[in-house]
């Protein structure tokens, strides 16, 4: 495995290696800081950025280097409204410039390898960074081979839209181009996956759009699962709002086994579904770097100490966000990643100072929109008790609520987004 990736990485960087090496040596702040503790963070999303910021906040002496492969970050939360024309991709796009203000060394590069024995990571631009502790927050990777006929290439024709950006715009184009009367097909993924209510938020918003623009069309959700997050609220809401949505559960034959991109169709064991507008959200696992560095187990996700988020496979490596396995039914959400990052930062700080593991407090709040004026939420608080993550309180929005209440939740969704983005990028 080591050799393979090594060779791969040499091939990738090729002739640029020499130039890259020279500049990387100078640009490697982790090396310059003699005697100081160095933490490298891989991935600048909901988890990684907050971990980097909190490490600096708790101890400005820690040398924090954040390595992110993209120049800009596109937020998935609130990206579904873009598909139906309620939002512009611009307000989902964030830059990393302000991190320097917080004393974080931001490096735009892709980590290709983690060497846990040497405590170094190496990157596509052929730089290498040493660490005392490493935080890995790469988000998810798709299991491209899980459904026959699907691939990364096919996703340009049958998009997933599960990482915000060009895929989101592709979904938008296809929705507006589809014929009135055709179905809009959403293929939901099996558990566990990023953002459990996400496919159903999308279904509602698309149905809201269809109701206005293509009233003869309906949304069909093909699902391998028999239940989903906030199910009662979604189904009641869809009914209340007069949406035309058909949900085909796993038991009813909703599991898609094959895709035919030429024919624009998806196949379950029982039936073929055809449309010019198909959104297929593939099964998922922890981001690639977690897989190739051996941080993931056979589930595809990274097992961690539930109190600190330190990997149970590699010491001094902390995995947070979508990539890790969390118990207590904490979902794979941006808010959860944010909360986990703060816990991991506290644990790293304590470990550097020879203190015991701090007592964590975990929180998640997730809003979903059914229409621009109709929001629902799930919120919970967890504590670490009797060696396990234990839910202390929480739940979903009430089944029966006024229109004002639903509208307020939609308004709070937007304000939540502003706050959590400011926490990351201001």
């Amino acid at each position: 495995m080591y050799d393979l990736t090594r060779r791969h990485f040499v091939k990738l960087t090729g002739g640029l290696a020499a130039a890259g090496l020279a500049s990387s040596f100078v640009a490697n702040p982790a090396r310059a800081a003699e005697g100081k503790k160095r933490v490298v963070v891989v991935g600048g999303g909901y988890g990684g950025v907050i971990a980097a910021k909190y490490l600096r906040k708790v101890d400005p002496n820690i040398v924090v280097t954040l390595i992110e492969k993209e120049k800009l970050y596109y937020s998935c939360p609130l990206s579904n409204p873009i598909i139906v024309g309620l939002r512009d991709l611009k307000v989902q796009r964030w830059g990393y410039d302000n991190l320097a203000k917080h004393g974080i060394n931001f490096i735009q590069d892709e980590v290709l390898e983690i060497d846990v024995a040497k405590r170094t990571v190496s990157t596509a631009k052929n730089a290498s960074f040493s660490y005392d502790k490493l935080v890995v927050a790469p988000g998810v990777e798709f299991k491209w081979d899980a459904i026959e006929g699907y691939s990364e290439k096919v996703s340009e024709k049958i998009p997933h839209g599960w990482k915000a950006g060009p895929q989101t715009l592709l979904l938008q184009e296809q929705l507006s181009a589809m014929k009135d009367g055709d179905p809009y097909i959403i293929v939901a993924p099996p558990n566990p996956y990023r953002c459990p209510p996400g496919p159903y938020e999308r279904a509602g918003l698309v149905a809201w759009y269809l109701k206005k623009n293509k009233p003869r069309s309906k949304v069909i959700i093909l699902d391998p699962k028999d239940k989903f997050a906030k199910q009662g609220l979604f189904i009641n809401g869809w009914k209340e709002l007069g949406f035309n949505i058909e949900w085909v559960s796993g038991n009813d034959g909703g599991k898609v086994t094959r895709v035919d991109a030429n024919n624009m169709s998806v196949h379950t064991e029982m039936q073929e579904y055809k449309s010019s507008a198909i959104n297929l959200i593939p099964p998922q696992k922890a981001g690639k770097i977690a897989q190739i560095s051996g941080l993931a187990d056979k589930t595809g996700w990274c097992p961690v100490n539930q109190k600190t988020f330190e990997s149970t496979i590699h010491k001094d490596v902390y995995v947070i966000g979508d990539a890790c396995t969390v118990t207590g039914e904490i979902p794979k959400s941006g808010f959860a990643a944010n909360s986990e990052a703060k816990i991991a930062a506290a644990a790293i700080h304590a470990s550097f100072n020879g203190q015991g593991e701090p007592d964590p407090s975990y929180v998640n709040t997730c809003y979903s929109l059914l229409s621009p004026d109709y929001g629902i939420s799930v919120a919970a608080v967890w504590a670490y008790r009797n060696n396990a993550i234990t839910k202390v309180s929480g739940g979903v929005s009430p089944e029966k609520a006024s229109a004002v209440f639903r509208k307020q939740e939609a308004m709070y969704a937007e304000s939540w987004y502003q706050s959590i983005m400011a926490e990351m990028f201001s």
Binding site: S377, Y412, S415, E423
Partner: protein
Amino acid sequence: MRKRMLVLAAVVVGGLWGGAAVAGPTSGMLSNTCDGCHGPGGVSPGPYMPSIAGMPYNFLKQMMTEFMKDERPSTIMSRIAKGYSDGEIDEIAKHFAGLKWGVNNGASVKGKSVDPDKAEKGKSLARECEKCHEDGGKKQDEDTPRMAGQWLDYLQLKLGEYKNDEKYPQPKKMKTQIDKLSVEDLEAVAHYFAGQK
């Protein structure tokens, strides 16, 4: 003043994850998750989300306790507040009371802006309010929240609730004053307080 200084000092000494008197998560650990919605350091960039940094300790504690006991209507706060013990709520209130009030900035979607005419009208209407919310809403004592520079959208939303919802918990004096004002008056009052920095 003296008391406030002491609270501040305690927070500084305790540091980000320090300060807890009891076993369990520290006050910083408990409070930093609040920032995910209420903004960095409790200063909110989202127009419907109130800033809570520097609010009076008693006020914060009372709000959280009322949410916890379902005595104050909310969307998600009652679900969240139930996740904490009385002692933990105390820590959270202390934490935010010890922070500095800040004016929100950096939001990519701005809230409604203050209309100077409405604010002017609100100024005279707010005379009664200022018996408690003194100094343009800047003064805060133990139970009175700061109003000056809070988000306009949030103030409008809440004043509307105070006016329209009979069951909304509020001091008697507050209810009397609110009842005297029309919806338009309250709108103007919100513009006035939001415009005070």
